[in-house]
Amino acid sequence: MNPKALIRSTTVVIALIAVFTILSEQFSVVKNFFALFGHHWIGKSVLALLVFGALYLLLSKSDENLDDNSIWWLIGTVVLSGLAIAGFYTWHFI
């Protein structure tokens, strides 16, 4: 198991969840695509898991030495993605 690839895959997937969320609210065609899985929320979940698996496979052969930067990139992405989602829905409501 490549720990650096795991952290990088998680970082990208979390940013993608925020992008999927905002795009699906802005463009009904995107929301309808996610809804093909039964519900748009399930669609986003399934796609996020698939992207996570694919990215990990892609990155698994790369350098696996864990450094301090990886976790800070992940924490920054979680905070910014969370704020982007909350900010988007607040703006959308107003």
Binding site: I14, K44, L74, I85, H92, F93
Partner: protein
Amino acid sequence: MGYPLIFFHAFIGEIGLFAYLWVLVEMLNPTEIRIMRAKTAATIGVICLFVAWIAGGFYYVDVYGSAVKPAIKASDAKWVHSIVMETKEHVFLFLPPLAILTTSLITRFGKQLIDNKTARKTIILLAGLIFLLGFSIAGMGAIIASGYRFALEVGLV
């Protein structure tokens, strides 16, 4: 009347979050036995968060969408759904990948966590992040429950 599924969703989710607090504590000064306990805690945590994910999804589709959402949206507290619920249901999706990552790192490093400071720090920060993010999501759940109670009190249901 309360819905048992939402109680179960919140309860199992919070058990999962406390499991990651347990991981954090075990990682502060790891020994072989503490690493084993951290692995057990992280496994319990990841299972609980996945069960909470599925229970929450069923509740959202089966109950919330047909009974709770219309009442909140018809009240003066419609922002509770439009901002808080929408944010909660999407930010929640961050938790399963973070939980899988933390559990995988503990498994991958095992006894090396005694000497590998970077890996240990990464796991401590991840476990703390899951705990704080999870409880901010639980707080949003409490706001949503209050919004529904408000809608019930003003006689919208």
